[in-house]
Each structure stands twice: as structure tokens, then as C-alpha cells.
């Protein structure tokens, strides 16, 4: 597209204009991402930075990469961010009051220091660099060139990265999966009807429902029809004064009826 032979110290004016218009906007957007209160605004500003970078990639003759930046990064990753933000709370905003002492001044200092060092190091490194340009490398087209590199020289890294992608997907699934702590109501009903007889489905009667007498020396009946041994005083048991409760238990025919 553009004439790509560049020398240090010169650039073609269109690219210069593009750069000097978009670069400050990118920096401002990045700063804004840092400073705005609402998280959603940060996400949108980051998306803007990414689009700017995609434009720069295309300007620098990395066509494939520029499109991939838009599709994968801005399209997929940033959207993922926005989904999660919505899950967490779209209105969630950080208070701008810093509660760690000295964090803000220290970070401003760190910013200045880091920027200064990086910029001066870069300045020292790139002053005598001649830019070769990508015309030769892109002679068959950018995509073909990348494919050529990717599937010959970097095929092993390619395979490893695809394994990484699969692992990441699995990991996300595992993390996002939540185990139920207790059975759902539907599951409970299903289990109840699978017990045995319908009689058990209805549950056992409460105590005293089928009681026939009220005497001290006759044992009480449990909900399933048998006699309760602890309902009689042990003294009576010792003296042999108990009357069996069998005559008083439900007759089987009575049970089946129910």
C-alpha cells in the first residue's frame, strides 16, 4: 500500500500525519482508562486504544496482525471483558480515595522513573538504526509470509500454543462450574417417588395417628406400626405387667387399605 522504504529521520508524510493524529489519542485514551471511575468506561477506552493499535499495525504493513487485532483482541477479548463487567455489576465504580498510604505519590514517581528510563534507553538503542522495511518479506503477500514462517520455523511453538488454548478453555470451564451443595427440589421429588411403595412416598404418619389406647402398660405405636419399647416404664417391664400391644396394632388388611 504505502511506500515502505523508510530511513531513519524521514517518513512519508501520510504515515506521519496518521501517527501524529492517532498516537496522542491513544495516549489520552490510555490515561483515561486509568483515571475514569466507571469500569465500563475504562473498557471502552481500552477498546479505542486497541483499534488505534490495529490501525498502526496496518500502517506498518502488518496486515494480518492488524485484522487479527481487531477481530480477536477488540472483538473477542474486550467483549469478554464487557460481559464480565456486566456480570459483576455495570454500575460498579471505584472510589478514587486511595487507602494505602503513600501509594499514589510512589506510583507517580515510579511512572516518571520508568518512563524516563525506558525512553532514554530506547533513544540510546535506536539512534543508529536503519529500517529495512517489509517489502521483501511481504513479497508473496503478508498472510502468505506469516503462514510460511508459522508452519515451518515456528510450528512447534504453534502446536504448544494450541494446547495452551485448549487448556485455558478447560480451565475456564472448571473455574466457572459450580457444584450444587444440596439437591434441587426437583431431584428430591424424583428420589421420593423412587423409594419403594407409594406408601413410603407419602411419608410415615405422625405419632399418635393410629394410636388405639392410652394406657400406661401398653406400649405406644411407632409411625410404621411397630411398638415403641421405650414408651413403657422399665419397672413395669421387670414386674411383667406389660400387655403386648400386638392386639392393638394395625391389622395388615387395615394397612393395605391405606
Amino acid at each position: 500500500m504505502l511506500n515502505m522504504t523508510l530511513h531513519v529521520g524521514s517518513t512519508h508524510t501520510p504515515e506521519a500525519v496518521l501517527f501524529w493524529v492517532m498516537a496522542p489519542m491513544a495516549v489520552l485514551a490510555a490515561l483515561g482508562m486509568l483515571l475514569v471511575k466507571k469500569a465500563v468506561h475504562s473498557a471502552l477506552l481500552l477498546a479505542w486504544v486497541m483499534i488505534t493499535l490495529a490501525i498502526f499495525y496496518i500502517a506498518e504493513d502488518a496486515l494480518f496482525l492488524g485484522i487479527v487485532q481487531v477481530v480477536v483482541y477488540t472483538g473477542a477479548v474486550m467483549m469478554l471483558f464487557l460481559f464480565i463487567l456486566m456480570l459483576v455489576g455495570v454500575d460498579s465504580s471505584d472510589s478514587l480515595v486511595e487507602n494505602i498510604k503513600g501509594q499514589r505519590p510512589a506510583s507517580i514517581l515510579a511512572a516518571v522513573g520508568l518512563a524516563g528510563l525506558l525512553l532514554s534507553l530506547i533513544a540510546r538503542a535506536v539512534t543508529h538504526v536503519d529500517s529495512i522495511g517489509l517489502t521483501a518479506a511481504n513479497s508473496n503477500g503478508n498472510v502468505q509470509g506469516i503462514a510460511q514462517e508459522l508452519f515451518t520455523r515456528y510450528v512447534w511453538a504453534f502446536e504448544v500454543v494450541s494446547a495452551l488454548l485448549i487448556t485455558a478453555a478447560l480451565g475456564a470451564m472448571v473455574l466457572a462450574h459450580s457444584e450444587r451443595k444440596h439437591a434441587s427440589q426437583r431431584q428430591l421429588s424424583v428420589d421420593r417417588f423412587r423409594k419403594g411403595s407409594l406408601a413410603q412416598t407419602a411419608g410415615l404418619p405422625a405419632s399418635g395417628v393410629y394410636a388405639r389406647h392410652n394406657a400406661v402398660d401398653v406400649p405406644a405405636l411407632l409411625p410404621d406400626g411397630s411398638s415403641a419399647p421405650t414408651s413403657i416404664s422399665p419397672t413395669l417391664k421387670e414386674r411383667g405387667d406389660i400387655i403386648e400391644s400386638a392386639p392393638f396394632e394395625l391389622a395388615p388388611s387395615v394397612e393395605e387399605e391405606n
Binding site: Q103, S107, A110, L114, L117, S120
Partner: protein
């Protein structure tokens, strides 16, 4: 110089016996005392043997040496553990072992009721060994070992009944006062080594004529300090009275006859130093004269019989020290007085012990009275010793003391008159207080406390006293016959050619003068104490009260030495706590402060850790930036 091989047994026999008895413990309780006495007697036997062997030799070969082993050899400092037995040391050896053996015999009976009798005898043997080492050492360093040994034995024996805190304190006081003197001896040894390069007597004697007078004076002054400490002379005399807390045989042996005379031995042995330095000699006579009078004044006011005898010892040793400062012939007279004093003072102490034994260990003379009838032998022997000490002819003290007074007067000029006058005054006061002791104890009406039944002591106690009093009678005469002792000691003290001095007064005149003041003192005492003696001590004149307080010696020591010493110690403790420990604490404090400050970095917030990582990355970049400059 002959070489003998049996000198070392004089020391090793009592030393091993002492260790033996101490280590065996209670097993040896039944026979320990006999064993110790036998050992002491055998050392006396060896001493006698050596004495006769020495007499059979003549001239330079009279002195005998024995090299035991090489002790110290460091660079130029070489000291052998060697013994030197010459005419001076043999006198001391015979005195120590002879009187020592008699006192061993006495103690068998005196300490018969004591559970720890065996330990007592072990300590007595230890003392004999140390004292013999002191007089037999051939160098100042060897002497020092013996010096320390007798200090130790004295401490152990004074505080023998250390269940009583007062006795233990008395022992400590004696040891500390001795220690001050020992500093003097250490410094003297150091001066000898640095100035003369040798610490043996022979070495120093050879080097003395070429030394600077400052070194000689310093050496003499330090030796005098050591002698003052050991012999209880002014200003280190405060311990002798309190040392009477020990059993009476101890007082007799150590604090009358032998240990306290070690100072006189030291000065006599170092005669070449004092001959060469007249300043040191002047200091010696001053100390001797002051102590002579000090002891006499204190002795007049003491009601405790042992303390009175102790003050008397202090005063008599003052005479000896005075004599050693009076020139070459003075040494011989000092030794003569030392030997005679050993006899009569030991016999008087043992007699006092006999009296105490009969009077339930009562020491207050105001509670005695009329004991002459009840304890005749004790009274007679004590009386003989009394006559000896006040200088009545022909008893021992007459010969020795008069010679000292005479030599003092002949010292010439104002010094002679002052010293002679002091000695005569001392003789008068001695007569006074000794007569007081005798009158209060043995004559007059009985003033006994209820329940005391005085009786004569057993023969095992009486026989040593009798033998010693024979000495107090005869020794003076024998030692002075034909100037025997002076000639015997002449090679050691360079007394040859010192006889011809200007005589102030004729010897007979001096004797008459001395006898006159003695009679004066005796009469005064008899008149004062012949009549009624109150049992409670009367208030007395200010001088009497001051003398009862030992002329303020303890108060002086307390104000001048103890309080400033404690102040220094307190300040050192404070400095140690605040400064030295303060530095250590400060180190700990600094470390803990650093750690507390660093702890604040761990606030748990991820963001601050992220900031730290960023700062770290910046540091790395900065390093790269600097390196690639």
C-alpha cells in the same frame, strides 16, 4: 654455696600432710592430729639436722641451695623454683618448726572438744609449709608464693569457726588488709624485674649498687608496704585485733611468733636495698616508731586479754621494724628480738589460752582476778613471759629490746633522740599495760562470772607452755653471748664493719634508763589496778575511749577507703549498665526498630506489592542504563 637435697622436704612434708588430712575427711578424725604433729616434729628434726650441718661448714659454704625445678622461662624472665637456706633462713626455720610443733602439741588438747580438729591441724600444717616456703625461697617470686600461702592459711584459720559471721568477717578483713600489702610486693617484683632484670635475691643484690636511687627508693617503699600489710604495721594494722577471733593456738603461732614476723624477714632479706636508699630507710623507721607507740597506746585500753596481747605484738614488731631501719647491725638486733619475742609472746598467748580454757572461754579480763592461786603453772609461765617482754634482766627481752633502744639512740642527731625517746616511751607503756594484764588476771579479788570453775589445764597444754617459757628465760642470754647472733648473721646483712659508730650514751646507761622507765610503768599499773577493779568498764578519759576504738583505725579505713571504693564500684556498675550494656541494648533496639519499620511493608495489599515489583524493575533498568553509559 652448698647444694643440699633434703631442703624440699621441709616444704613438701607438711604440704602433703595438709592435703592428705583435708582429702581424707572424717576418716582421719581419730588420728589426724597426731599425724600432723608428727609431721611438724619431723620438719623440726630436718631443720635441726640442717642447722648442725650448717654450723659444721664455714664461710661461704654455709649457705645451702636446692633447685627443685625450672618454673618460669619466658623470654628474658627466668625464675627457678629453688630454695635458699642461709644463716638468716635457718633462724626462721627453727623458730617456725620448733614453736610450730609445740603449738601442734598444745592444740591436740586445746581443740579436743572441737569436731573439726582434723581440719584445724590440716590448716596448721598448710601454714607451716607456706611459711617455710616464704623463708626458704631464693627469689622474691618464690617468697611471694609462700607469702600468699600464709595469707591463705591465716584466712582459713582466723575464720575457722566461720559459723559465726563476725569471725568470718574478721578473716576477710585480715585477708584484704594483707592484700593491700601484697600489691606492694607485686609492684616490688615488677620493679625488680624491669630495673634489675632479675627477681632473685642474689641478682638484685648484685644489681643494686648500679641502680638509680629512684628505683631503689620505689622498691624499698613497696617492700615496706608489703611488710606493713603482713606484719600489721601502720597504716595496715587494723586487722590484727580482729584476727583474735581465731582459736588461741592460731593467735599464738601465726599472729605472734611467725606470720607477722614475715615483714621483718622481708626487710632483713632486702637489706641491700635499704642500705642503698636512705629515703626508704627513713620510711622504715618512721613506720616502726609510729606503730610501736600505736600498739602500746591501744594495748592499755583493751579489756580483752587476747586483744591486749595482739596490740602488744603490734608494738613489739614495731620495735623490730624500727631496728631494721637502723643500719646493718640493726638487722641482727631485729632478728634477735624477733626470736625472743617468738618465745615469750607465744608462751603468753598459750597461757592466755590456758586461762580461757579454764574460764569457759571468757576473754574479758575484768571477769578474771585471783587466778594465780587456781592455775599456778599457767601463772608462773605467764609471769616469766611478762618479765621477758618488759625487759627485766636476765630474761630474754632485756637483751634484745635494750639493744634496739641503744642502736636507736646511737643513730645520731635529732633522729637518734627522737627514735630513742620513742623506744623508751614505748618500753614504759609496755611495762604499764603488761603489768595491767598480769594484775587483772592473776592477782586481786575474784571477779568470776557465775558458773565458772577455773582449773589448771591438762599437761598436754602445759608442757609446750613450759618449754616456751624456758626459751623466754634463756634465749636472750644465749643469743647475745659473745654477740653470737650478730656474728652468725653478719654474712647475710653485711654487718661487718658497722660496729664502730658514735655512741650517744654508754650501753649501761641506756640499760639503766630503760629499767627505770620500766619500773615506772610497773608501779603505775600496780597502784592503779591493785585495788578494786570494776566489772563494767568505766567511761574513762577521751584518750581511753579513743584507744578502745583502736585509735580510730576502723573509722579512718571506712571513711578513706571503703566509702570511696564503694562509690567507685557503684559508678563502675552504673557505667557498665548504662554504657556498656547500653551499647548492646542499643544494637538490639536498632535491629528491632529496623524490623518494626520493615514490617510495615507487609500490609497485605496486592497493589503495594505490585508497586514494589515495579520499583524493582525500575532499579534493574537503572542498572542497565548506568552500565551501558
Amino acid at each position: 654455696m652448698t647444694t643440699r637435697t633434703d631442703l624440699v622436704y621441709l616444704i613438701t612434708l607438711p604440704l602433703f600432710s595438709s592435703a592428705f588430712l583435708l582429702l581424707l575427711g572424717r576418716i582421719a578424725d581419730k588420728w589426724g592430729h597426731f599425724f600432723a604433729t608428727a609431721i611438724s616434729a619431723s620438719t623440726f628434726g630436718i631443720g635441726l639436722y640442717e642447722f648442725f650441718a650448717m654450723r659444721s661448714r664455714s664461710g661461704d659454704s654455709r649457705a645451702a641451695t636446692q633447685r627443685i625445678f625450672e618454673w618460669i622461662s619466658v623470654g628474658t624472665f627466668k625464675v627457678d623454683a629453688s630454695l635458699l637456706l642461709d644463716q638468716l633462713s635457718i633462724c626462721f626455720v627453727l623458730l617456725i618448726t620448733g614453736v610450730g610443733t609445740l603449738i601442734h602439741i598444745y592444740s591436740i588438747a586445746y581443740m579436743s572438744h572441737d569436731r573439726d580438729r582434723r581440719r584445724f591441724f590440716a590448716y596448721l600444717n598448710l601454714f607451716v609449709a607456706a611459711m617455710l616456703l616464704l623463708v626458704l625461697g631464693d627469689s622474691y617470686l618464690n617468697l611471694y608464693v609462700g607469702w600468699e600461702g600464709v595469707g591463705l592459711a591465716s584466712y582459713l584459720l582466723i575464720g575457722f569457726w566461720n559459723e559465726r559471721p563476725a569471725y568470718a568477717t574478721a578473716a576477710k578483713k585480715a585477708f584484704i588488709a594483707n592484700r593491700v600489702g601484697d600489691v606492694g610486693l607485686s609492684l616490688a617484683i615488677m620493679i625488680a624485674f624491669t630495673q634489675f632484670g632479675s627477681v632473685t635475691f642474689a641478682g638484685v643484690k648484685d644489681a643494686a649498687p648500679h641502680a638509680s636511687s629512684a628505683a631503689l627508693t620505689a622498691l624499698g617503699a613497696m617492700l615496706l608496704l608489703a611488710a606493713a600489710g603482713k606484719s600489721a604495721q601502720f597504716p595496715l594494722q587494723s586487722w590484727l585485733g580482729d584476727a583474735m577471733a581465731g582459736p588461741t593456738p592460731v593467735s599464738a603461732l601465726i599472729h605472734a611468733a611467725t606470720m607477722v614476723t614475715a615483714g621483718v624477714y622481708l626487710i632483713t632479706r632486702s637489706n641491700f636495698i635499704f642500705d642503698a636508699s636512705s629515703t626508704a630507710r627513713l620510711l622504715v623507721v618512721i613506720v616502726g616508731a609510729i606503730t610501736l607507740l600505736f600498739g602500746a597506746i591501744v594495748g592499755t585500753a583493751k579489756d580483752d586479754i587476747k586483744k591486749a596481747l595482739a596490740a602488744s605484738t603490734m608494738s613489739q614488731i614495731g620495735y623490730m621494724i624500727l631496728a631494721t631501719g637502723l643500719g646493718p647491725v640493726g638487722y641482727a638486733f631485729a632478728i634477735m628480738h624477733l626470736l625472743t619475742h617468738g618465745f615469750f609472746k607465744a608462751s603468753m598467748f598459750l597461757g592466755a589460752g590456758s586461762v580461757m580454757h579454764g574460764m569457759n572461754d571468757e576473754v574479758n579480763m575484768r571477769r578474771y582476778g585471783g587466778l594465780g592461786k587456781v592455775m599456778p603453772i599457767t601463772a608462773v609461765t605467764f609471769g616469766l613471759g611478762y618479765l621477758a617482754i618488759i625487759g627485766v634482766p636476765p630474761f630474754a627481752g632485756f637483751y634484745s629490746k635494750d639493744k634496739i633502744i641503744e642502736t636507736a639512740l646511737n643513730a645520731g642527731g635529732a633522729r637518734g633522740i627522737l627514735l630513742g625517746g620513742a623506744a623508751l616511751l614505748g618500753a614504759a607503756i609496755t611495762a604499764f599495760y603488761m603489768t595491767r594484764v598480769v594484775v587483772l588476771t592473776f592477782t586481786g579479788k575474784k571477779r568470776w562470772a557465775d558458773g565458772t570453775h577455773p582449773h589448771e589445764s591438762p599437761s598436754l597444754m602445759l608442757i609446750p607452755i613450759i618449754l616456751l617459757s624456758v626459751g623466754s628465760v634463756a634465749s636472750g642470754f644465749l643469743l647475745n653471748k659473745g654477740n653470737a647472733l650478730v656474728h652468725w648473721l653478719a654474712p647475710v646483712v653485711n654487718a661487718a664493719g658497722a660496729e664502730g659508730g658514735k655512741e650517744l650514751l654508754q650501753p649501761n646507761v641506756v640499760s639503766a634508763l630503760a629499767l627505770g622507765v620500766v619500773v615506772l610503768g610497773v608501779l603505775t599499773a600496780v597502784l592503779k589496778y591493785r585495788g578494786h577493779v570494776p566489772v563494767e568498764a568505766p567511761a574513762g578519759s577521751p584518750l581511753t575511749r579513743f584507744a578502745r576504738r583502736d585509735l580510730g583505725q576502723d573509722d579512718f579505713n571506712h571513711r578513706v577507703l571503703v566509702l570511696p571504693g564503694q562509690a567507685i564500684t557503684k559508678s563502675l556498675v552504673g557505667m557498665d549498665f548504662h554504657f556498656v550494656d547500653g551499647i548492646v541494648r542499643a544494637v538490639g533496639w536498632v535491629l528491632s526498630y529496623i524490623s518494626v519499620s520493615l514490617k510495615k511493608v507487609q500490609n497485605g495489599y496486592v497493589r503495594s506489592y505490585a508497586l514494589l515489583m515495579t520499583v524493582g524493575a525500575i532499579a534493574l533498568l537503572a542498572t542497565i542504563w548506568l552500565v551501558t553509559l
